[in-house]
Amino acid sequence: MKHFILFVAVIFSGLFFAVLHKTEQGAVTNSLPTLRVFGYASFTGRWGPGPLLKEHFEKTCNCKVEFIEGSDSGILLQRLKIEGESLGADVLVGLDQFDISKALADHTWRKLSLNNLDVYDSVKPALNNSFFVPYDWGVLTFVTRRDELKKTPKSLDDLLDPEFAKKIALQDPRTSSPGMQFLYWILRSKGEEEGFAYLEKLMAQVHSFSPTWSTAYGLFTNKQAKMAYSYVTSPLYHEIEEKKKDYVALSFNEALPVQFEFVGIPDLCRNCTLGEKFVNLMLSPEGQKIIMEKNYMFPVMKGVMEGTAFAPLMNVRTLNEVEIMPSAEVDRLLRRWTEIRRGELN
């Protein structure tokens, strides 16, 4: 019996490796061209929009789509820089506005020739560079559970209320893009000096600064924190997938920051036209719908969201310009932020 089990196990694991080897090799030797899309895990992963987009795209393109995952946009850019051509990335998905100046500094990108896109007004400012095009956007705010707070904060200053002491889950701006957005929000709505002064006071209110959005949000859903910095669309996830209606996004007197996610085609691309086609698919109504439903973000193009649960959420006041900060500036702000943290007592 031992011999038998061993024998069958050996055959199967041999085949397993052979197949692994073959599927990757086959992709190259097969005459079909492969489009390599570089993205972060929650985009390309099974629950993200990636697989559906791939399915859609492969129906018409006579090619194969392959996703390459990285943990986040910072790491993706590093890989692109280090591996360069050998990486063979045709499309890069998931940069936000704070990554762009770094991306432009480190790499050369193909100009995207997009005709007049029928986008929402709040998206328009994000279109003014010719290398990256936004494919979705989200408005960031605090999310909380209904009835858990005695008082709902209406402005940033309300957050300093003792009721929320140690109950706010934030992200570390050094490692997470929503964290950076938060920092930016404060500085934009209060001005730099006052903003940092405010942050100093806020430190006492914060439960923790997590390295990633998912950790901060996990702390919140696990009821460690009463509110977390997230997207206005977050409650929709709970409503649609978990059938829980008690999550709400807070609205603030201050205009809320907008995060755009961009897609771009690096100059090193191998199947550049396919890449452009893929970008077009992402901006097409089908593509936008998939991205909206799977990523829980707003589509950039008009005509997809109307009539869905997403549409009403869009009506919040947002910062109406999109600033693409040079990376030196980002560095400087982060350094000041770190200074403040260093002053903390515990």
Binding site: W47, S71, N222, S234, E242, D331, G343, E344
Partner: protein, 487 residues
Amino acid sequence: MSLRNGLRLALVLFLLFPFLFLVTQFGVSEVPDAGELLWAFKNSLWQASFSAVFSLMFGFWAALGLLSFQNSGRVKWRSILDILCLLPNFLPPLFILLSVLSVIEPFPMGIAGIVIVHTVMNFGLVAVLLAGIIENKLGGMIELAYVEGATRWQFLSKGLFPALQKDLLLLGLFIFVICFGSFAVPLIVGGGKGTTIEVLIYEKIRLSSNWGGAVLLALLQSVFIFTLSFVVSQGRTASRAKRTQMNLLKSPSGVFVVAAISFVYLYGYFEGVISGLAMTSTFYELQSTLIWNFVGSVVLGLTVGLLCYISLLWIAYCWPKQWFEKFLSGYVAPSTSLACFSLLILGPNEGFYPFIKIPFALVLLNLNALVRMGWSGELQALQSQMTVAYAMGASPAQIFKTILFPQLSERAGILAGIAAIWACGDFAVSRILAHHDLSIAMMTETLMSGYRLNQAMVLSTLIIVAGILCFVLCVGGSRVLRRKFTA
């Protein structure tokens, strides 16, 4: 150059590879801001020292509990406790963290918080290792003291602690090194003291793409630990004795410690699993992916186990050589992201290359932990036998085959099994090196990054299954090998 010297050199080069590679690739450009560095260093140092001390304390106590289950009839209980102790080591740290946070209310952020979480994560490992050391090395002494009527306290203070001083120090150093390089935990619960050197390295890479600076930081970190372990590792560990009566050391309160700490990390975890179970239907469409990723986890775990087993025996073959010993006891792996990136640059990343590179990286990162966890002690205990055999004129191959291998194979199997468990739970390394989800741990992480925390918790139970499977296979395999080659 003799074969053995060649092998020694090869191993040293393998372990130093990320440093050498990155230094040649990027050079060490700028000197980092001293104030920032000092601050991060201080944070790392404090949290790691306290974590080590507390892990040792609770680990020792728990080890006494483990020793209560020594008689043959209660072996089953012992292994359950062992598993409970080792569990926090291979669940994703976030789950432990969430669990700890939901039990301890209000949770003290800052150094205290980091120390609590680290203690919960590491006490069990200390307990299992210490129980092993006490059983293997001090049996006779305990019996003697028992017969002579020493009280427990007398025995502990006069006999056990002095005898184990060295082992305790080494274990402490081991935990210290683990905590010193920890990333996510300090960042989340560290409050203002959350910036450790590891965070600084990550920041240098991610934000300012300052590779030279990152390499320099990693080098500084390594040099510090290297000198530290030089200071600690003077002298010898306790020597071997036969297995005996442990009455004097049994302590049911230790079992209570295990139970209590296990409760701390399991409570929230089970809560999460249960609420996640309601949503398992999401997995229905994923059965085949699940199976593939499970196979992937097991394959990964076993490859790492096998490689670690080989490396450990490799070390044993090369053993008695002073500079080599010193190097191994002082060496500390470079930060995860640095090691991974250096592998990433090297050679292609498609096809089955991730299946080669990931185990390679994991061995690189974990080998020094395994050496600290008792391998060097084990080898030192056998040193006198090696000397005798050498004086008798036996060749290195002979010494290895008839003396070292039969006595070490099983122990190497256990250590390799632990490495396999770590490999099953890893997602940091594989996330960088793999192009898509290869293992359950990676899938868990993907789930977490898209709102689905509770499902991720459910899925992580499979990590435990895969980890235990790998562990059992490694230990069993090492036994079979020993029998095969010594018969």
